[in-house]
Amino acid sequence: MPPYQAAAVYLGVVAVVVLAITGGIGRLRSRQRTGAKQAPYECGVSTDAGVGPRFPVRFYLVAMLFVILDVEAIAFYPWGVRLRALGGVGLEDMAIFAVVLAIGYAYVWKKGGLDWR
């Protein structure tokens, strides 16, 4: 059996186990739903307001930068595997790419994009 098919079989087994835990054990015992038990935990104080539909995420800019840089990091994987064959030329090419990346990174850092605002 090819490796990815074997991995898929394993994932199937894992899915069955997880579904059995999630679906099965929950039915084993009685539930008594009362008001205080179902309120979100607030250290004993009764909840005055819920979580609300909108809230500020202070690191949204960092999250976007992460997506951009992580996508760029993907380019390093195939290059890394073949670097021995590419030799010095491969090193030069990636150096140009990395310098462009580093300029962007330094710009973001200087502009305060990595800080909380």
Binding site: P3, Q5, Y10, V18, V62, F66
Partner: protein, 334 residues
Amino acid sequence: MSGMSLGYVLVRSVILVLLLMGAFAYFMVLERKVLGYFQLRWGPVRVGPWGLLQPIADALKMVAKEDTQPLGADGLIFVAAPALALFVALAAFAVIPLGPTLHFGHLALPLSVANPPSGLLFVLAILSLGVYGVSMGGWASQSKYALLGGLRAAAQMVSYELALGLSVISAVVLAGTLSLTGMVRAQAVHGLWAMVPNILGFVIFVICSVAETNRAPFDLAEAEGELVAGFHTEYSGFRFANFVMAEYINMFTLSALGSILFLGGWLGPFGLPSSAWWLVLKMALYLFFFIWLRATFPRIRYDRLMSFGWKVLVPLGFLNLVWISAFVALGGWH
């Protein structure tokens, strides 16, 4: 390998799942024992000799607890989050080889369920899904503490995943392969663990693996001192147990990955013959280090954690990558 039938793969898959869950149960005891000794107490001693039956008592308790759910919670996502966390944690272990292929006469017994040529990409792809379970659970609870915990988990992921990737890329450059067995083979050929030329990559990997598994001092997603229990505040019983199990199995995956990428995997030190037991020993030391960190360091402040990831680990990871790729391209480890 092509002779493996479906039944054979099924049996091996079930064995691996049981192995991971058993390892989880006893690693819990070990952690509580070790933390106990760090704090000059005994840890669990009541259930069974030396507390060894503790996991059975814990499992019974978890199963017997009522399954609570807050009133405003998003039912489907609330139920799906712990299941997803556990699924992802177990799934990531699929392609990790635990040792060299064993031979009994004609019979070859590979010590992994699957060993694809780009296993490393598979592990990384699945591992990065781990954060979904945590932030979904935090969001679906509709509780302030849980929401903050879930958000912090996301913040941590965007801060440490990149540095983790950079340290893994340095290992890929050094070994010239994405296959996990290939990684160990490369280290065997050169007779040197990858940690030696790539020590900085190893240090970055260790720090990021602590952050990725939400362990102290990076356990901001649960931070019991400030957020009650963080993302799993509203979870009880076996759903809570699912989250804990996911965290520990992720630790196993990352310690196995770190040992294979940087510590020679199943190669013995000082030219001793290779064996799966070496990998188990290295993973055990790696996991002991996790507990040691937890017993030693206070929790880092949330914004400092993010700037440490972005302003220290990412530049260091890039510098390390420059050094390793120059080393390889100019003829090192050919």
